[in-house]
């Protein structure tokens, strides 16, 4: 419904009261601005923290062995628990909940050399499925497989930074032999990892090979399991208990011993962060909406004054045949216009500031790419229009109830 006269009248009133309109509009613009800024920063914070989870599957549980803390079946506390291949095989092959699994045998940092180039890198000895747990992306060649494990082949997959450090002349590393602590390994793959630089300065070798070459016997220092995508915290807790019980039985420690076996439950951690951010987001919306409400009250107040000032004019209009609806719509449209225009200004400024910060600020560990998405902008717009209508409603009703006689006598 575009009605030129009505708009002209609204603009006329606004023009006559520039300062008042500005001050009122400012409170709305400010409310929206704050909401956008807060939401943008919330998103930035969430993205930053979520990035810390990128490296590791959020549906994984990591299992570490520890030291017993309670006596059990006649054995003193303080005993070190040590997992072995049999433990791992049991978990990997006999637990249907496990979708992927890998053990690790710790080798730590080792000297790695290739044709005179050398460096000290972290060597991880794992099972093939480890690539799904740590989200290792092979970009050249392959990751090692079950056959490599079975035959204890001396093969290695290297991170891009390892490749850059050793193959300084840009040779194709696949098929080349590098020495790890003096033992030659054949490079079968090069990988990338979203977890950042640290995760790309790594070499992966089959755990079975490592146990054999580096005197590990059947030792497994820790192992990790993936659950189904979308596994719930409860499911992960059940899994923890199952693993604890199984290991307690095998290694003869009390199933209630919290220290004999420890877990790093990514499902739970991730969920906790999710919940935390849901909470933060809700909190931000509440603050934002409260600020906007303050703006609405301001607008409503101004419109009240406008109605009071225009009592006589409205009376004249009614005497000339203005229907109550035409008066109501006049007031509400003015209110909606002020809220929308100033709200939009706040929206644009807020988005501008967020974009500015996003382009200037380097991505940090806990903060990255603040942004306001389309959905938020739409919600904000809906809030604005609703707010404008609400702000205009009471004054408009008041205006509609003006009795022409009273208004006209009001000299």
């Amino acid at each position: 419904m575009f009605d030129r006269d009505k708009w002209q009248e609204i603009l006329n009133t606004i023009e006559k009261n520039k300062l008042r309109t500005f001050l009122t509009g400012f409170s709305v613009a400010w409310g929206i601005f704050m909401l956008i800024i807060l939401l943008g920063f919330g998103t930035g914070l969430q993205k930053g923290v979520s990035d810390n989870f990128k490296d590791t599957a959020t549906n994984s549980i990591w299992v570490f062995s520890g030291q017993t803390s309670v006596p059990h079946k006649g054995m003193k506390p303080g005993r070190f628990i040590r997992f072995d291949n049999a433990d791992y095989d049991l978990v990997a092959n006999n637990m249907p909940e496990v979708t992927a699994s890998s053990g690790r045998f710790y080798l730590g940092n080792n000297e790695v050399t290739y044709k005179g180039e050398h460096g000290s890198f972290n060597i991880r000895t794992v099972h093939p499925e480890h690539q799904f747990i740590e989200k290792t992306l092979t970009i050249q060649g392959r990751f090692f497989n079950e056959k490599d494990i079975e035959e204890k082949r001396k093969v290695v997959s290297i991170g891009t930074l390892v490749r850059d450090a050793l193959f300084v002349n840009g040779e194709n590393p696949i098929g080349e032999y590098i020495e790890v602590s003096g033992v030659p390994f054949k490079v079968v793959g090069v990988f990338e990892d979203e977890g950042g630089e640290n995760e790309q300065e790594i070499l992966y070798i089959p755990i079975s090979t490592a146990q054999m070459v580096f005197n590990g016997a059947d030792r497994v220092d820790m192992f990790m399991v993936n659950l189904d995508e979308g596994a719930t915290v409860e499911e992960s807790k059940v899994m923890e208990e199952k693993l604890r019980k199984t290991m307690a039985e095998r290694h003869k420690f009390s199933p209630d011993d919290e220290r004999a076996i420890r877990f790093w439950n990514n499902v739970e951690d991730f969920m906790q962060f999710q919940n935390l951010f849901d909470g933060i987001r809700t909190f931000i919306w509440i603050i934002g909406i409260m600020t906007i409400i303050a703006g609405i009250v301001g607008i409503s107040n101004i419109m009240m004054i406008v109605v009071k000032e225009r009592t006589k004019e409205i009376g004249i209009r009614k005497a000339l045949g203005a229907t109550p609806w035409s008066v109501v719509s006049l007031i509400i449209m003015e209110s909606v216009l002020i809220t929308s225009v100033f709200g939009y200004i706040g929206l644009v400024l807020g988005v501008g500031v967020i974009e500015g910060i996003s382009s200037v600020l380097p991505p940090g560990e806990f903060f990255k790419d603040p942004e306001v998405n389309f959905k938020v902008a739409i919600s904000a717009t809906i809030i604005l229009i609703t707010a404008g209508t609400l702000a205009g409603l009471i004054p408009a009703r008041k205006a509609a109830r003006i009795k022409p006689i009273v208004a006209l006598r009001d000299e």
Binding site: E313, L320, G321, A322, T323, K403, I405, L408
Partner: protein, 202 residues
């Protein structure tokens, strides 16, 4: 009280005698408790606001003592306003408003704002505004109350001319010389009609 079509009647009485109330009831600006009010064979009682607004717009024209022009609209826009509420197109209503301004002799002042007009001019704009909907009845509440006597007589002459075109006219006034220019004077006291006299004009 019975006012015939085409009549020009004045209502007189001291303040508080109920003449404004009577005018407000006739003008459908107010409701009444007792009695009945028939306009053009329709009983007017307890109308909804919207209905009252439509009747006012269609049947009645108002002229007030304080002119009641809208200050931020020029003479032409003021005259055209009632047509806006009849949803007449902009061009059409401006053309018609111009016609009525000519009728009251203010065509040259069409673009002027109310504060640039004299009292008599303002009242003539108000009369043009009241007439533009071709009402059956023109209600004037102290139309000359704020004007000097020369201008008052000019305005009364204008109202008489309009009356001759067949529009019923009800004028509330407390000035005898103004009342004397109408066909009939109805005198009110304490809300009662005490006298209805025909003047020499008939």
């Amino acid at each position: 009280m019975d006012i015939k079509e085409g009549e020009m009647v004045s209502i007189m009485g001291s303040s508080g005698s109920g003449k404004s109330t009577l005018l407000n009831i006739i003008g459908m600006l107010d409701n009444y408790d007792e009695g009945s009010y028939t306009l053009d064979n329709k009983i007017i009682k307890d109308l909804s606001e919207t209905k009252a607004a439509q009747y006012r717009n269609k049947f009645l024209g108002f002229v007030f003592q304080s002119f009641n022009l809208i200050s931020f609209k020029n003479a032409l826009e003021n005259v055209a306003l009632p047509l806006y509420y009849q949803k007449v197109k902009r061009k059409e209503r401006n053309a018609l408003a111009m016609e009525y301004l000519e009728k009251v002799g203010l065509a040259d002042w069409a673009e002027h704002m109310p504060n640039e007009l004299s009292g008599g001019q303002k009242q003539r704009v108000a009369i043009a505004r009241a007439l533009i909907t071709r009402p059956k009845v023109l209600l004037a509440d102290e139309p000359t109350g704020a004007l000097d006597s020369t201008t008052s007589y000019e305005v009364m002459e204008l109202l008489r001319e309009i009356n001759k075109e067949g529009i019923t006219m009800i004028i509330v006034t407390h000035e005898n010389d103004i009342a004397a220019k109408t066909d009939r004077i109805i005198r009110l006291k304490d809300g009662q009609i005490i006298k209805s006299e025909v003047t020499a004009n008939v």
